[in-house]
């Protein structure tokens, strides 16, 4: 594995730049669908910049965990991104971990974020972290089964191998197990990134926000780091989904040409997925908290069917 | 030097001496002296038996082989310990008037006689004399049970004597049948009734008669040994008797009747050749263990709890003897010794608790570890021993019996054995844990336990601990010979 730093730096930069753009894009499109003009697409950059410059207020009750969490969240999201074959089939740090390591890193970030929600002794943070942990717990089996389906087809949990295996002859997408797995992963994506049916990202209403509640006490550069980390996490998950199930444009080896082509294909795919997410967000209302497990158990059933269908129909 | 005769005459003489001696202080000393003498004689007997295989005196009337030598040792050890214990025990009883002067003397006359008749049972060669000796143990111990002259102890004594005499009548019928089978080839003399002669001529005896004889002996001596369903007198007698007597009763006298039954079983196996008697012993042993379990689980009286536990251990020994596999037999014979030591300690402790807290009701007693640390710790060690937990030897013997059983392919027997053991353990543990641990509830406490009582218990526990980890070579050889004897190969 030649750890040539060029790809590493490129992918890191790509992750840092694309993430806010993607979330800005989604906010903008959502506004347009609700025939509002909505914030401009690169508004998140300005937000980040503003947060970085502002003074910071730390709660008097919080401990050192409150200050460590932004760095942990940001770094784990970035590291997870580097495990992913973003542009070409070669993931920069593919040797350091496969899909299990990626899920583990995101879980580590979530663990510290939940702790920081409890730290400032406010009820909102406690409620947010409790709901966040429980929803991700219920989503976990569905995600694991979908990953198992894909990993069994490829015979390994190494993401590059999975992508190369699914690039095989014939248009793999219509294979029933991959379609079911994709649907299950899509539902899990909505739950993990806190989209509408599970959690409302745009609200500050105490009772309905899950993810936002944990960030309530953050301000200044810590808030910037966390916002950026969450955006990177969203990009990583969407890219993971897109690259595994639609491996078009992911060349086996990385040269400047294949890098550019891959980037284009990635952008296209991400836009399509973002559009799908926006469509789901605008057409659905937020589910009651105790209906969310039913949605996620539906995802689990879909993943189970995907797994069964790998050997039932082949 | 008539060793066997001395073994019987010394305690008998001590009993008569206690009758005549005036001063009250001398009686305990006489008791302790008598039984330490018998212990010495017992050790000498063991050495002789190991040297010469079999010791006989009075031209064959008295007879001692490995099994009887081991029983002599057990009897003298337990009797010595209970006589030491009785010194302190009765001083307190006399002090608070529960025992009158006459009863005190009565105890010191009857206990040595009780010991003497027990020695006669194990040393007699003639089956008729064995019956006579067992009857003597019954008669001498019935008045001991009724020592306190309370209503309940009288009732216990009455049941003890009626059921005992009934059992012995049936045992006599069994002995008559054996004798009838023996003198069929009309040799007509005292020796034809000796066990050695019978073993010699066992082949020609009429098998049908011997089966009938064994059935009567089993019911008869089984009643005296406390096998279920003939055990009903056992909890009453052992819980109402004074502590030293119930220790001797529970520790040794049950095994004396079992010894007599064992002689019959060996004879029947030699004659019939089929394991007829062993199957019966096995069946009654398992029945005793299963019958003891429910009574232990829901028991409220401490002494009755330990009495039922003796019933279970008699069942264990019977199962061991019934399996008649070398390892199981060795386990059973060794178990006789270990159980005698532990059960006596437990009844001594019960006696201490009874005298200190004036009640035997388990719900009323709690937190004894704080009020009576010395005897509580010794009771805890004894209960650990009797429950068959590792540091002490009973774990070895119970494992030996089960291993023997499984080795011989008796899977169902072993499963029942283990199930009964575990259930009884849980009952015993929950009672004793409630008894010893927690905050003490007793307010009006009697006088502190005298030193001699604690010394007796400590002596027995120390002996058990030593014997659990290291058996001296001569003792091991003696036990191996006794086990071989029961197994049928002389």
């Amino acid at each position: 594995m030649n750890l040539d730093f060029s790809i590493l730096l490129a992918q890191t930069a790509l992750l840092l730049v694309l993430a806010p753009l993607l979330s800005g894009l989604i906010k903008n499109w959502k506004a347009k669908l609700q025939n509002r003009r909505g914030p401009r697409v690169w508004q998140p950059y300005f937000d980040l910049l503003k947060f970085l410059r502002k003074d910071m207020v730390l709660s008097e009750h919080s401990s050192w965990i409150f200050s460590v969490t932004p760095y942990v969240l940001f770094l784990t999201a970035l590291a997870a991104g580097l495990l992913l074959p973003l542009v070409t089939a070669q993931a920069p740090l593919g040797l350091f971990g496969g899909v299990l390591a990626l899920v583990g890193l995101l879980a580590l970030g979530r663990f510290f974020l939940a702790l920081s929600g409890l730290d400032p002794a406010s009820a909102f943070g406690g409620m947010g972290s409790s709901r966040e942990m429980i929803i991700s717990a219920v989503a976990e089996p569905a995600m694991m089964l979908a990953i198992f389906t894909v990993a069994i087809a490829a015979g390994s949990t190494n993401l590059s191998q999975i992508v190369l295996a699914s690039q095989g002859p014939g248009w793999k997408f219509f294979d029933p197990s991959r379609a079911l797995a994709f649907t299950a992963m899509f539902i899990v994506l909505l739950a993990e990134t806190g989209r509408i049916p599970v959690d409302n990202p745009a609200t500050h209403l105490e009772l309905t926000m899950i993810h936002e509640a944990m960030l309530l006490e953050y301000s200044g550069r810590y808030l910037a780091l966390i916002e950026w980390g969450v955006a990177i996490k969203q990009l990583v998950l969407m890219a993971l989904l897109v690259n595994i199930f639609f491996p078009i444009g992911l060349a086996p080896e990385t040269t400047p040409a294949t890098f550019a082509l891959g980037l284009l294909c990635l952008a296209a795919k991400l836009l399509v997925l973002a559009g799908a997410v926006v469509l789901v967000e605008t057409s659905n209302a937020k589910l009651r908290l105790f209906r969310v497990p039913d949605l996620l158990s539906a995802a689990f059933i879909l993943a189970m069917l995907a797994l069964v269908s790998t050997f039932l129909f082949s | 030097m008539p060793l066997l005769a001395l073994l019987i005459l010394v305690p008998a003489a001590a009993g008569l001496a206690c009758l005549l001696v005036r001063s009250r202080r001398l009686l305990p000393a006489l008791g302790v002296l008598a039984f330490s003498a018998t212990l010495g004689l017992g050790i000498a007997l063991v050495r002789q038996v190991l040297a010469r295989g079999v010791v006989t005196e009075w031209n064959g009337f008295l007879f001692a082989d490995a099994l009887s030598a081991w029983m002599v040792l057990v009897i003298s050890a337990v009797s010595l310990a209970s006589s030491i214990y009785a010194v302190g025990y009765f001083r307190r009883d006399l002090a608070d008037g529960t025992v009158t002067e006459r009863r005190f003397r009565e105890f010191y006359v009857l206990t040595p006689l009780f010991g003497a008749s027990m020695f006669l049972v194990v040393l007699a060669n003639n089956l008729g004399v064995i019956w006579f000796a067992v009857e003597a143990t019954a008669l001498s111990s019935v008045l001991l049970v009724a020592l306190y002259n309370r209503r309940t102890s009288l009732e216990a004594a009455w049941k003890y004597i009626i059921l005992g005499s009934l059992g012995l009548a049936l045992a006599l019928m069994g002995t008559v049948f054996v004798y009838a089978a023996a003198c069929k080839n009309n040799t007509q003399s005292l020796t034809s009734f000796n066990w050695t002669y019978l073993m010699g001529v066992a082949g020609q005896l009429d098998p049908r008669l011997l089966k009938l004889a064994f059935v009567f002996a089993l019911i008869g001596y089984g009643t005296k040994a406390g096998l279920a369903p003939m055990h009903t007198w056992l909890p009453d007698a052992h819980s109402e008797a004074p502590a030293p007597t119930s220790a001797t009763l529970s520790g040794v006298s049950l095994k004396i009747a079992l010894y007599a039954l064992l002689r019959f079983s060996i004879l029947t196996t030699a004659c019939l050749g089929t394991p007829y008697s062993q199957h019966l012993l096995l069946g009654f042993g398992l029945l005793s263990m299963c019958v003891a379990t429910p009574f232990i689980l829901v028991q409220t009286n401490m002494k009755r709890l330990f009495a039922y536990h003796s019933l279970e251990h008699i069942g264990i020994i019977c199962v061991g003897l019934g399996l008649s596999v070398p390892l199981a037999l060795f386990g059973a014979v060794l178990h006789i010794g270990y159980h005698a030591l532990v059960k006596s300690t437990i009844f001594f402790a019960a006696g201490n608790i009874h005298q200190r807290c004036h009640t035997l009701q388990l719900p009323k007693l709690a937190g004894l570890l704080k009020t009576m640390p010395a005897s509580s710790i010794l009771l805890a060690l004894a209960v650990i021993g009797i429950a068959g937990l590792p540091p002490f030897g009973i774990f070895l013997t119970e494992f030996g019996i089960v291993a023997g059983g499984m080795g011989a392919g008796r899977v169902l027997v072993s499963v029942l054995f283990i199930a009964a053991l575990v259930t009884v353990f849980s009952g015993l543990l929950s009672h004793v844990a409630h008894l010893l641990l927690g905050a003490p509830t007793q307010e009006a406490l009697g006088p502190r336990t005298p030193l001699s009582c604690v010394a007796a218990m400590a002596l027995l526990i120390a002996l058990l601990a030593v014997l659990s980890l290291w058996l001296p070579a001569p003792l091991l050889e003696l036990l191996r010979r006794a086990a071989a004897l029961i197994g049928g190969s002389p």
């Binding site: 770094l75 979530r110 406010s122 409620m127 717990a137 550069r221 | 009938l212 009903t232 429910p294 543990l429």
Partner: protein, 693 residues
Amino acid sequence: MSDLEAWAHIATSVPPATLLGAALCGYGLGAVGGLFCMRQEKLAAAFSFGAATLSALSGLLAGLLMLGGGAGTPAPQLELLPALIPSLRFTVRLDALSALFLLVVSLLGVAISIYSLGYAKSFFGRKNAGLLGAFYNALLLATTLTFVADNIWMFLFAWELMALTAYCLVSFEHEKPETRQAGVLFFIMSHIDAGCLILGFLLLFQASGDYSFASLHGVGAAMSPGKRDAAFVLFLLGFGIKCGIVPLHIWLPVAHPVAPSNVSALMSGLLIKTGIYGLTRVCFDFLGAPPLWWGVTILAAGTISAVLGVLYALMEHDLKRLLAYHSIENIGIILMGLGAALIFLHTGHPLLAALGLIAGMYHTINHACFKGLLFLGAGAVLHATHTRNMEEMGGLAKRMPQTACYFLLGAVAISALPPLNGFVSEWLTYQTLLQGFGTTDSLWRLAFPWSGAMLALTGALAAACFVKAFGITFLAQPRSPAAGAAHEAGPWMRAGMAVLAAACVLLGLFPALFIRLLDPLTQQLSGVQLSSQLSLNHGLVLGLPAEKAGSVSTLGLVLTGVCLLPIPLALRLVFARKARTRRGPTWACGQAGLTPQMEYTATGFSKPIRMIFKALFRPRRDVQREYDFSPYFATNIRFESHIEEVFVERLYRPLRITILRGSRRIRALQAGSIHAYLLYIFVALLLLLVFAL
């Protein structure tokens, strides 16, 4: 540096047998010493726990040397005591499996003994610390003997001794009635499993004819299938009770919390491992080629134990009961690895069986470390706040900073989050389950991914549970004056925790090194050495034997994190140089200020799970409301919610009631009338006369 090499030379030259002997004598000496100088508490505690530390160290060395020596080293045998009965001998033997578990017991022994040197101070004046030291040493002695026993008799001897000493320790503070009941329940369950083991081993003895373990290797082949399955069921029951597999687990959450904290750490880190050791020794070593249903049963038992263990743990707000339930969960994960390995042995894949074994064993070591660490942390917290109820804690991170760090490290490890050891062993378990799918084509292969999904659910719920445990205990404001006045644990206690924390980190970052130690074990049990194929890039990365299979390197992830750290720091330098930070009150919707009552509670935190899994918990809540004139203006509200222990309510309590009621009915047989007694004898005589002649 030269003396370091000298020390290393000395250490490797001493044969493992003498080290093991030294360890056993050390424990014995510690126990006897603790008993004798019971009067002077300080001396007794120092002597006994000091002796325990040293003997544990020598045990650790013995284990390391034995495992380090590679697969070939011969297993030394030792005769401890002269045999009472010729066939039942007290012999011990140190083969690969025993060496691994000796390693685990010694590692935990060192850490907890150091911790106890400080912890015993809390007993001075109140209880007898010398006695605690004595029983502690006896328990370590018995557990070590159990792992290294070489014949049936010695194993059962040590097993019962372990149960006895553990009972004495569990009911050490026997003033409280709940401690006594817990002790009795523990001992009865231990005795039941000892009974099952005796029967199981003797079934093997029937076939082998000899008690020594040497003669029992692969004895299953010589037994009839019916007997083999019966032996397996007996062993599963016996070892299952000690492991805490779900239907048999009821003693575990009751016994661990009442014991002194250093003992609960030892019990949950170690006592449970004796069950795992037993199952491994019997299923892989003695019973020969397993049928399919054995592996599937263990896999299913593991899965169910894992999920139910973590679900019940989430509902607990008693810190030590929570950790006890987590022991059940982690045992489930270990059993998943072992069950999968058994299935691979059946389908004839020794390579994957070795992988499953490595996953199970590695998680055993990891669980011993982080569970021990968490219990020691809980002990420190309990020592400081004098309560086990999490609802009365809070804000301890500022008052007990180092304990908080150690507890957090343990929490991250147990939630299987990278880069620590929990993640590595769960990664190995996932890989085993993943590879398992392709091995058979019968429907059973669905069991693997399904267990994988349940493992994921367990991991995530464990993370949620430890966010609750750490957050409610250490973060935010103290909820009670006791928590407010808490002080940091003593130096010894922190040192004990530091040892285990270091172990967790090392086991997490350098897995390839430690898996090399498991080589002799997998060679002995499944005939394959796997560590060389597992460790790629000279030990930095842990990969699977198949060439393009997945790999993970926790060290790599940490390095990546460190390399990426300059980015946020640079952002701070570039943009936020002038920004100031200040401390302000937490947002309370504009009202005056936050009081501790407003904080989120542990019961609240686990409320969503209680709602989602209503069918399992059947939660009941009652609210008492006191008011003066109108119910709408309550002066005082008392809220109480509790869940139903399904197994205790439905299975064990009815069983106990029927047994006791039956016994009372039988007790009526002894009705006191002599005529009835005579009738019993008469009937017995008649029956014998009619049938037995």
